[in-house]
């Protein structure tokens, strides 16, 4: 379960660049909820994910993951509950380390790291199996440096790393936006498969309305730091892109941005 209670965040307060990024956002997710999030640029989607992950402290409000109030916890402490994939494929993996070392680091997410060996023999077989499920041939390249992989491969690896130790909440922040369309589709399908199989509570930010409708059981639209639309279950299944665009204009009172229209 995830509870966001009245989260607010203003960047650069009291300066000319002041920006209210989140304005009293409240949200409740049940275990297994797969939420897709849309909204124009600057609506607060990624900011909300970063607030949950703890990249900076929020100005007010509370964040409760699985009954634990994490509002005051630093980013690395929250990692215990969170799996994350970022927009930039380079952010989620350590380029100068081997594929297997990256996986071993992810396997120990949230655990105390001591003087035990970093990658055990038993893990090797486990990772080989797991990598094979990605269908990218990475299972034969265990000791290669991650820096040699393509963006799509790195993103798929990051996805695997984020879910290797089952997270309470998976945060996908436009994780296919930097990939070419075909690779993006592949990574998206893979994400859906992993989320569905493991029944992971997931928040996925996307700019693509069709994807937002196709995947997940719940859809949230944000605008100007607010959640302006929250559609679940059957109602979501019947959604069309046209519905969404009409809803957006109706609720926000604004025209859709070019970027959102293009999607």
């Amino acid at each position: 379960m995830l509870d966001l209670i009245n989260i607010s965040k203003t960047f650069n307060p009291n300066t000319i660049n002041q920006k209210v990024a989140l304005d009293g956002v409240s949200l409740h997710l049940d275990d297994g909820d797969f939420v897709t999030m849309i909204g124009s640029n600057g609506a607060g989607k990624s900011t909300l994910l970063n607030a949950i992950a703890g990249e900076w402290p929020v100005d007010s409000g509370r964040i409760i993951i699985d009954g634990n109030d994490v509002t005051g916890l630093s980013e690395h402490k929250r990692a215990l509950w969170l799996g994350r994939v970022f927009q930039d494929p380079r952010l989620g993996t350590a380029a100068t380390m081997q594929i297997i070392e990256n996986l071993a680091l992810a396997k120990r997410r949230g655990q105390k790291r001591g003087l035990k060996i970093g990658v055990t023999k038993a893990e090797k077989d486990e990772y080989r199996e797991q990598l094979a499920t990605l269908g990218l041939g990475l299972e034969d390249r265990l000791t290669e440096k991650v820096g040699l992989l393509s963006g799509g491969q790195r993103q798929a690896l990051t996805l695997l790393m984020a879910t290797l130790k089952k997270p309470k909440l998976l945060l996908l922040d436009e994780h296919t936006a930097a990939l070419d369309p075909r690779t993006a589709q592949k990574v998206l399908t893979l994400s859906d498969q992993i989320v569905t199989e493991n029944k992971l509570m997931t928040m996925m930010v996307t700019h693509n309305m069709k994807d937002a409708i196709r995947y997940g059981n719940r859809l949230i639209m944000m605008n100007a730091g607010h959640i302006i639309l929250d559609i679940k279950g059957e109602e979501k299944q019947k959604l069309t892109v046209t519905d969404l665009m009409e809803q957006f204009v109706k609720t926000s009172g604004e025209e859709l941005s070019d970027r959102a229209l293009l999607s």
């Binding site: 980013e75 690395h76 969170l82 380079r90 993996t93 350590a94 100068t96 680091l105 790291r113 060996i117």
Partner: protein, 302 residues
């Protein structure tokens, strides 16, 4: 120019290179593994010797003196680490601050004298330049090869552990490290402590080798350390991929550095110009990757 005088100077150059190679390994850990340029080492390179020599002069056991020197270096690293992480001071400046304070600290340790000597006749020491041409176990080259091998062994083991891997991850990608639950501040502090502990070990050995410690012993040390790291990556970068081999390459890099210095001096360069030469050489080699990057601009990212 007498070739004989050069050849007779070479064993000393090799021994010095091996001792500074230990220091260069410490620099490698912060500069390459943690991705921090730590200038603390210029101070630590005298601290280790100061602690070691003063303890020996006061009749302490040799091994205890070396151990305390290492601990003193680790404390220096801890201070830089706290400046950098807890107080948010940029790493380079944090190192400079510690380095500067160490100047006073080192003098204090040395009883406010700029140098302190040890008498090899009355004090038991591990290595001495006097034995550099002796064939036997007391030869500093032989001893330094063993010390280097042991150190590389320990570091190879450590950076293969969970904790060691988290340090490498911190240096490789902080963003990823945090997302995987690694406290990057703790990683950096541990890394700086290990690095400065190793530099202090080198300092303790160097002061024994010279038979004295000088408060200016470490001045420009970071440049020598970087030179060794760069020489090693230029010469061995393509062939040494294993971490232990890379560390060995750094040690060899320091040896090559000292041999080259010896040759340059033999050719008649004024000793006082050495630091200028070293700095310029390091500057050029640091620029090479940047220049290379300019030519490959527009390359597809990720």
């Amino acid at each position: 120019m007498n070739i004989g005088s050069l050849i007779s100077a070479l064993p000393g150059a090799v021994a010095q290179g091996l001792i500074w190679g230990i220091m260069a390994i410490g620099v490698y850990l912060t500069y390459k593994v943690l991705d921090i340029a730590d200038l603390t080492v210029d101070g630590t390179m005298a601290t280790g010797g100061a602690v070691c020599v003063m303890m020996l002069l006061n009749g302490a056991n040799l091994w205890l003196a070396i151990l305390c020197a290492v601990l003193a270096g680790m404390i220096a690293g801890l201070v830089t680490g706290i400046f950098h992480t807890a107080m948010g001071i940029p790493a380079i400046l944090a190192g400079i601050l510690t380095q500067l304070s160490l100047y006073s600290v080192n003098l204090a340790i040395m009883g406010f004298k700029a140098n302190q000597g040890i008498n090899f006749r009355t004090t038991r020491i591990l290595i001495s330049s006097r034995n550099v041409k002796v064939i036997g176990f007391e030869n500093p080259i032989f001893i330094m090869i063993i010390v280097t091998a042991l150190l590389i062994g320990v570091l190879y083991w450590f950076f293969g552990t969970e904790l060691g891997a988290s340090l490498r991850a911190t240096g490789s990608n902080e963003h990823m490290a945090r997302a995987q639950g690694i406290n990057v501040n703790v990683s950096k502090i541990i890394g700086l402590m290990i690095s400065n502990g190793i530099v202090a070990l080198s300092s303790a050995l160097y002061s024994q080798y010279q038979g004295a410690v000088d408060v200016n012993m470490g001045r420009g040390g970071i440049v020598i350390g970087l030179a060794a790291v760069i020489i090693s990556s230029v010469i061995f970068g393509k062939i040494f991929h294993n971490f232990a081999l890379k560390l060995m390459g750094v040690s060899l890099g320091a040896v090559i550095y000292y041999i080259v210095i010896q040759i340059v001096l033999w050719m008649g360069l004024n000793t006082n110009m050495l630091k200028l030469l070293s700095a310029l050489v390091v500057a050029v080699f640091l620029a090479i990757p940047y220049w290379k990057g300019k030519f490959t601009k527009g390359a597809r990212h990720a």
